[in-house]
Structure formats: structure tokens, C-alpha cells
Amino acid sequence: MLGYFNKLFRREPSSRTAKERLHLVLVHDRANLSPQILEALKEDLIEVISKYMEFDVDSIQVNLDSDESTVALVANIPIREVKRQLRHANS
């Protein structure tokens, strides 16, 4: 009977709401990286990207951006120059 009402009013079971909310809150909780880890990540990123292009190391910003439904790793890396051999390979 209760299930019928739920269907009638298109209400999803509260357990599903709970699970969805938990998933989201845990993404936020788990993504709460320490500054040290974020710094280590930044250094690794620099190492990888510098194989392909030149950029100003000091102006790199790596942050976690979150809104209500998603969490994203946002890296702002202003490029100075793409390395020559790479341009050749592409053309």
C-alpha cells in the first residue's frame, strides 16, 4: 500500500535518497585533501606537463572546486610555450 502511494506521488524510497546523499557527502569528505597532498600533486603535475610545454611554475594553481553536485580538481596552468618537437610532431 505504501509502495503504491510512493509510486502515485513519484516519491522515491527514503533509503535511496539516503544513499545518494551519502555518496555525495563522502565525495566531499574524502576529497578534503591536506595542503601537503595538494602540493605533492602539484609537483607531480608540473613534472608531467613540463615534458610537453613550458610554463611559469610560480603561477600554477591547483585547487579542489566543489558545488552542490560535483567535486572537481581545477588546475590553472598558464602556458608560456609549447615545446618545438611537439609542434613538429603534430604538423
Binding site: 505504501l2 509502495g3 524510497p13 533509503s15 539516503a18 544513499k19 546523499r21 551519502l22 563522502l26 574524502r30
Partner: protein, 270 residues
């Protein structure tokens, strides 16, 4: 003898850590093991009343680590089961009255004489929690199927693992099969899907727990109760036995059986 030290923890308060510790300790002792329970919740002593041993306390955990008495002098012998002992917490001291190194030393000493050292952790993630996990070889995380408890369990799992206690086990407490069935409570699978650690046991929500706590007699003594049977099964799993998990069946026939008292309780409670 080289005993196993297991910490029972949860993050969130009120999910049943102390009840779980009391029942697992009693259950393991009933299986013939030598067990000591340590109440690490300094300042909020409770394991003694749940065990019904509150009138026998002479010394406490803080006095032991401060060297005022030998560990064995502070152990309270259980009045019903042989080989079961309790080391009570201090009631009038602060959580920082002991340090992790002292806890490690105490647990190592107790390991020589006991098969199991069960440590009842305080709620929270601060000093008291860190003391409680420091002497342990493994961890049991207790949660209830609620958003708040599961969230805290997730955080605790991370902390426990970063402390070198890998592969903690999970006990899901106070599950209500009929609510799960109508979609109003997180199921065991939901909780496991989120936390992704090994399941050690499922304990149904059971009024008998309240009754047994009132009396100071752990429910595991009475295996006719659903929760008592559940704790008994968890103890057997800790001992390495392969015991099937509770089926969350609340079918009509089973409910009818229970209503008529045809052993339904004993049979469907695993």
C-alpha cells in the same frame, strides 16, 4: 600465549560500541577463550554497567598505566563466565590521562595471558580514540544504517587505516529488516557499497538489548534472542568459522511463524 588485540570503534557515538564490546567479549569467553575487555572511554565509563560489574571496581585503567597497581590487580573477573575480565576506565580523569605508548605497553603485557584483548573506544576522533587504536592489531567498525553513522564510519575507516590497521571489519548494528524491505532504511548492501570493507556481522534492532542492558547481562547469553544469536555468530566468525550471514527475510510465513512462536526467532536470526 600471543593474544589478538581488537579495537571496537565507530566515530559517531550511540551506535552500540560498548554493547558490541560486551557481547563479543562474553561470546568469545563462552566459546572457551581467555578474554579481557578494556574500557578506553576515560571519563565516561560504561562498559562496567553494561557488563553488570560496576560494584566490583577497585582500580582503573589510568591507575594501571600510572603504575599504581599491576595490570592483573585491576582486572575484574566476570561473575558468570570464566576467563572473562574487565579493565574499567577511570571515571574522574580526563582523556589525556594516558598516552598511546602506555596503551601499547599495557596491551602487549596483557597479550601474554589472554587470547583476546577487546578495546572499547570512545566516540570521536581525538585523543581518546587515538589511545584506543594505538595498541590494537585490528579494528572492528560499528555503524548503524543511518546517514550520519555511515558518514562517520567512512572517516574512521580512513583514520584507522592511516594508523596501520589495515582491512578493518564492519558490524552493521540495529538493522530493521521490515524498514529495509519497504525501502525506508539503508540495506546491508547499500552500506557495504559505500564503505567497501569486509562485513563481520549484522545485528538486528532488538528490544532485548535494552532489557539485557537494564540487567547488566549481555544478550549473547540468550541465543534465543535475535541479537544474541547474531553476536554469537560474529564471535564464531572472529574465531575463523565460516558462518552464513543473516537472511533479512521478513516474509509472511516467517512473521506468522514468529507470531505463533514456532521457533521463528531462532531460525531466522543469524
Amino acid at each position: 600465549m600471543a593474544g589478538r588485540a581488537i579495537v571496537i570503534t565507530s566515530g559517531k557515538g550511540g551506535v552500540g560500541k560498548t554493547t558490541t564490546t560486551a557481547n563479543l567479549g562474553t561470546g568469545l569467553a563462552l566459546l572457551g577463550r581467555k578474554v579481557v575487555l578494556i574500557d578506553a572511554d576515560i571519563g565516561l565509563r560504561n562498559l562496567d554497567v553494561v557488563m553488570g560489574l560496576e560494584n566490583r571496581i577497585v582500580y582503573d585503567l589510568v591507575q594501571v598505566v600510572e603504575g599504581q597497581c599491576k595490570p592483573h590487580a585491576a582486572l575484574i573477573r566476570d561473575k558468570r563466565v570464566e576467563n572473562l575480565h574487565l579493565l574499567p576506565a577511570a571515571q574522574t580523569r580526563e582523556k589525556d590521562a594516558i598516552r598511546p605508548e602506555q596503551m601499547v605497553e599495557l596491551v602487549e603485557t596483557l597479550k601474554e595471558d589472554f587470547d583476546y584483548i577487546l578495546i572499547d573506544s570512545p566516540a570521536g576522533i581525538e585523543h581518546g580514540f587515538r589511545n584506543a587504536i594505538s595498541g590494537a592489531d585490528s579494528a572492528i567498525i560499528v555503524t548503524t544504517p543511518e546517514v550520519s553513522a555511515v558518514r562517520d564510519a567512512d572517516r574512521i575507516i580512513g583514520l584507522v587505516e592511516s594508523h596501520g590497521l589495515h582491512d578493518p571489519y564492519l558490524i552493521v548494528n540495529r538493522i530493521r529488516p521490515e524498514m529495509v524491505q519497504r525501502g525506508d532504511m539503508l540495506s546491508i548492501d547499500d552500506v557495504l557499497d559505500i564503505l567497501r570493507i569486509k562485513l563481520l556481522g549484522i545485528v538486528p534492532d532488538d528490544q532485548e538489548i535494552v532489557v539485557s542492558t537494564n540487567r547488566g547481562e549481555p544478550v549473547v547469553f540468550d541465543r534465543r534472542t535475535r541479537s544474541g544469536q547474531a553476536y554469537h555468530n560474529i564471535c564464531r566468525r572472529i574465531e575463523g568459522e565460516d558462518v552464513p550471514f543473516m537472511t533479512m527475510d521478513t516474509g509472511f510465513m516467517q512473521r506468522l511463524g514468529r507470531l505463533l512462536g514456532i521457533g521463528g526467532r531462532r531460525r531466522n536470526a543469524n
